[in-house]
């Protein structure tokens, strides 16, 4: 896969060229019940080239995937009302979602372990920073 950049009007949107030579943009889903965190994380992800969408709890995230929307990577909080991150991650994996899912939490090690076991690819401590998310570009 090749990483490229789109033209001057969308100079920061990163694109990915897959093995068939098809160029697409990178989409990310941010799942967090705190609108401040959503705003900041969206901005961080936009700044490194992703197009970001936001869901305010696990159920909204699951419903999005169920309705057929796809993402290249998901950043998901642990503690949310209605459906938390652990439950949402389990459901997404059970539904056959294979994209990268990155947990984002302010909780400690034990909680992180449980979160990882739900099916995460990685788990980061809050808050996200440009330095923490840039490496994911390389993986997509």
């Amino acid at each position: 896969m090749m990483l490229g950049e789109a033209g001057p009007s969308s100079k920061r949107i990163k694109t990915v060229e897959n093995d068939d030579g098809i160029v697409k943009q990178l989409f990310t889903l941010i799942v967090d019940d705190d609108p401040i965190v959503c705003k900041i994380h969206s901005s961080i992800l936009n700044s490194v080239g992703f197009i970001a969408q936001v869901a305010s709890n696990g159920k909204e995230a699951v419903d999005l995937f169920r309705s057929g929307v796809t993402f290249d990577i998901v950043f998901i909080d642990m503690d949310m009302p209605i459906m938390n991150g652990i439950e949402a991650t389990k459901q997404l994996r059970a539904m056959g979602v294979t994209c990268k899912i990155v947990g984002v939490t302010s909780r400690d090690n034990e909680a992180k372990e449980a979160f990882l076991e739900a099916g995460l690819d990685f788990c980061h401590l809050k808050p996200l920073t440009v330095a923490k998310v840039t490496p994911f570009l390389e993986l997509l």
């Binding site: 965190v37 901005s43 302010s106």
Partner: protein, 151 residues
């Protein structure tokens, strides 16, 4: 020194003080770096959201702690949220009190919780005033025709 340079110097000095005194941490720098021509009011927008949200949470906490039977789970949930949002904007002093607050919650220590609420209100008010002063200084620099320096 012309007026713009003087105002800029004032702004930089004030901002540095906030970092040195521990009111703000590295996370606030991250926010400043996300601000650019396509997103010129980003920091003010995020901080304003933080003010609104914090005030709502502090009011809720006051209500809950006044009741006969305190729902500590609710208290914990609100404090957790306040801790999360304060840490995401770099409001270090507020975040620290939230950690102590959660400990009091876990112990179901009513007096401890009430003390923590007073403490967190105090720290929140302090950092709110500091940030409002910071934004005023930025406005003054812009009004005088200068640009906000990178810290």
């Amino acid at each position: 020194m012309d007026a713009v340079t003087q105002l800029q110097r004032q702004l930089v000095d004030y901002t540095n003080t906030l970092f040195h005194e521990g009111f703000l941490d590295e996370q606030f720098n991250q926010l400043q770096q996300l601000q650019d021509e396509s997103n010129p009011d980003f920091v003010v927008e995020v901080v304003s959201l933080f003010f609104q949200d914090s005030e709502r949470l502090l009011n809720e906490l006051a209500k809950i702690l006044e009741q006969q039977n305190i729902d500590f789970k609710k208290v914990d949930a609100h404090v957790h949220q306040l801790k999360g949002s304060s840490s995401s904007i770099g409001a270090q002093t507020v975040q620290r009190v939230c950690i102590a607050f959660r400990n009091s919650c876990e112990e179901k220590n009513i007096e401890g919780c009430q003390k923590c609420l007073q403490h967190v209100k105090h720290e929140y008010t302090l950092v709110k005033n500091k940030l409002e002063t910071l934004f005023k200084l930025e406005q003054q620099v812009l009004a005088a025709g200068g640009t906000i320096p990178m810290y």
